[in-house]
Symmetry: C2
Subunit: 510 residues, 2 copies
């Protein structure tokens, strides 16, 4: 069966989830999941001697669901350590509900082969683990969820976490956990906050035990069952980069300049506007250009949202952006800001982008700048699979913010090396074309035909305007039409749209 954007979804995959039918087609009244709580009385201790003891006390059993957050990124020591211990304890057949997975998690391959982990849901998959999964490592397809979609799924009970293993850079003996104040700081614990809210059992794992009460806390004591101190939760250099690199690549700079012109000439660029920009070379550079225009036009933003980087913090500190809403931090400047700037707010993934709460902050976004691995003639965007069809990306907040923002800008080169980026049909749809307003490349822009209002605005400006078909032709003319990727029938990953419907599947590569 095909969903509303024409992607073929096998019937056995659809089940009760339903097919994607449009970004806001689902208008459900949801009922939030009911969490089980074991009361903690005065005098009871939460600090345990070992992870084994905590796992035993949480009564972790075959078939349960465990969760982790990805705020430690490539520096994460927690997930591998915990799954090793679980495997040694002989527990099997677990569902792994990480907020994301990275290259550092390749040891999971063995635990999948051994039957310890049999199902996975995640936002991202990279490196060796992703390659193995693409080749058919798992019997059950991985479920790819956006950050907002994961929050929705947890709140709705689609993901029912039995035990959450949450690393925290600092914590007290009663479970007040923070993303700062330790030796491996990550800043916001935005994704972990949802797990703490909805998991039946919550274990905080820290390498920096501090005096009670550890305030302000990202995760609060009344959500936490146990605390375990370990030697090291992560490698600081893998968690955050010391400094943000400004691109010197002329192609990226050109894209950024065009993108900033698209934004600053739009009707949304005015006093009190709001924005989210990403972490790639072009998107970081966009912030720089927008900053100059904000100063020139005396325009201030009400808030910046997202994964937070140094340029946003600088603009906040110089008074150009009033509020920072921070679900995760990408560099040291952002991490340091969260504990010192009172209008730098730590937010959870539901406040960030959950489509089924009473109004996430993404709903209030004026402008978002997002990148793409591929974009097609329907403006559908792929940020998940490479040109070889192999998993190597993350859904992240892409479809969430694209759906919500008034102006969604995709920045992408026409080609990367010998690979076209504007294509006939993307390998994998993460974000449907209806959510995309403008594609910005190094030779000019394409405006989604749905946005006739924007076409009027840019038609006589200094940015070359093309149709998406024209950009596609130019892309192909440079590198030629690529060979079709050969897939087998087997579905190795299911891509859930943020509302839980199925927008695409990823098949096993031949």
């Amino acid at each position: 069966m095909k969903n509303s954007i024409g992607r073929e979804i096998p019937e056995e995959i659809i089940k009760d989830k339903g097919l994607f039918q449009g970004a806001f087609a689902h208008n459900e009244r949801i009922i939030k999941a009911a969490t089980k709580v074991k009361a903690v009385k005065p005098g009871e201790e939460k600090l345990l001697q070992s992870l084994e003891e905590a796992i035993n006390k949480c009564n972790l059993k075959d078939g349960m669901t465990i969760s982790f957050h990805h705020h430690f990124r490539e520096g994460d020591y927690i997930l591998n350590k915990v799954v090793d211990i679980i495997a040694a304890m002989g527990i099997k057949n677990l569902t792994l509900a990480s907020s994301s997975l990275s290259g550092v998690h390749s040891p999971l391959i063995e635990h999948i082969k051994n039957g310890v982990i049999t199902k996975i849901t995640t936002s991202g998959l990279r490196g060796e683990l992703a390659e193995e999964i693409s080749k058919g490592l798992m019997k059950e397809p991985v479920i790819i969820r956006s950050h907002g979609g994961r929050a929705r799924a947890i709140e709705a009970g689609d993901i029912k976490i039995d035990v959450a293993f949450l690393g925290a850079p600092s914590c007290d003996e009663y479970g007040n956990a923070s993303g700062t104040g330790g030796k491996a700081n990550c800043g916001s614990l935005g994704y972990a906050k949802i797990d703490a809210e909805y998991a039946d059992k919550v274990i905080i794992i820290t390498d920096c035990l501090v005096d009670f009460p550890n305030m302000p806390a990202s995760i609060s004591q009344e959500k936490v069952d146990y605390v375990v101190k370990v030697e090291e939760i992560g490698n600081p250099s893998g968690i955050v980069s010391g400094a943000t690199r400004y691109t010197k690549n002329p192609k990226e700079l050109l894209i950024a300049e065009y993108a900033s012109k698209v934004i600053t000439k739009s009707p949304y660029f005015k006093e009190g506007f709001s924005l989210q920009t990403g972490t790639g070379g072009s998107t970081l550079a966009v912030s720089r250009f927008i900053r100059e225009e904000m100063i020139k036009s005396n325009v201030k933003a009400s808030f910046a949202l997202g994964g937070i980087t140094k340029p946003m913090i600088e603009m906040h500190e110089e008074g150009l952006i009033k509020n920072i809403f921070d679900v995760q931090d990408f560099d040291l400047t952002a991490v340091e800001s969260i504990s010192k700037n009172s209008m730098h707010h730590e937010i959870d993934a539901s406040f960030y982008a959950n489509p089924h709460n009473k109004g996430c902050i993404a709903n209030k976004l004026d402008v978002v700048v997002l990148s793409a691995l591929e974009i097609d003639k329907d403006f559908n965007v792929n940020v998940m699979t490479g040109s070889d069809g192999v998993l190597r990306g993350a859904s992240g907040g892409h479809c969430d913010t694209a759906a919500c923002a008034k102006l969604t800008v995709i920045v992408s080169p026409l080609v990367r090396g010998r690979i076209p980026c504007v294509v006939d049909s993307v390998n994998t749809v993460i974000t449907p074309g209806e959510s995309i307003d403008v594609l910005v490349t190094e030779i000019g822009i394409a405006i989604n035909p749905r946005r006739k209002d924007l076409m009027e605005i840019y038609k006589n400006g200094d940015i070359p305007v093309y149709t998406i078909e024209e950009l596609y032709e130019k892309s192909i003319s440079i590198v030629g039409t690529p060979d079709k990727i050969e897939y087998e029938d087997e579905v190795i990953a299911v891509v859930e749209y943020r509302d839980g419907s199925i927008i695409d599947v990823v098949r096993k590569v031949k």
Copy 2:
């Protein structure tokens, strides 16, 4: 049937609630209530023109439960206004689940007579409404709950709020609500936060609409369905007192001095201790004496908890108390502090004192000083009914903090006017004697016989030590044995212990 402290509870009242069997007898695994959520999409408006429109949109119907908070105390304009409108709309048979009710709510009498309100749960009842209820105004008994018990009941679904009407001193059009930043500021919105979390529909009512986003927010947009602006939410002078009066009453000062000696000589008075003190003349004065001793002994507290008053803020600002955990503010100094002091934390009622979460902050209390209308020979405390048997008090956080703190001190004069305060058996038990450690009066102290360790400590000090029986005899010797209050059989209020079991009932006065 009698519960474990010998109070007679009619069988029809007990139902599934169970009889009180001891402060920590219930050791349940609770399942949190599931909330219904209607998703809000980008572009949808929450700001409505009138309360009528909001009530209609929330689909309020006969038989539903509505809730309010009491942070505006005697200055509250919200509850009466909303119930007037509901009555005019012809909706009937509602359950009123206020966090507390005060003298200002006497107009409810008419709405009870007219059948608009048929059930009530509250922490406190005072004034004309309380008198009428004591005389049998309602068919269904009122359920009296502590602040922690109300949070527990809401989380467990015992109170299922259909529509919460939450006044906020400032709010933006998307529902980010704060207890400060307006013209009728109350500081912490700690009780309201729980309603916002668990009510199916949440309406914020404000008289000060501010620019989006209103940050930091006490109640966050993703919990809020609608926002309504009204002329005035409350009378600032009724909400907070401008200044805290230090008592000059010699009896109160003597009690305070003894109480502070009890505390500072206890093993709990040491670096990093924690405390809660109340708002009465004696309890406020206790803070003053403790402060002097803290300076003298170079002891600093890790946190102060509770309803917050000026003395706590002063000690915080001079570095004697590291953290303030604030569920409600009683004076302007406290209200002003919450927006300026970063370690003055706004907390919700569940974090404060819910016995069935994974560890409320009350669990970490070393010392609490509480007042009493009456205390009896079993150390049971009444803060709810007067010597005439009429409702005129509030359960508050009394039984919550008494159960949790390592040292629970009751301050009370032996007699008030012609009324004995140490009695044979209290009219109404709010807090069971097992939770009380020391009673402090103007002539000396009585130590609960359970606390042999404390008896050792105080036996050779400069505080006169009596048995509770001796204090009872002295009390009676001054004013004589009071006549027994004459009650009818009819139960007009049920007192729930914090865990939901029934600790006492209040009967109709003759």
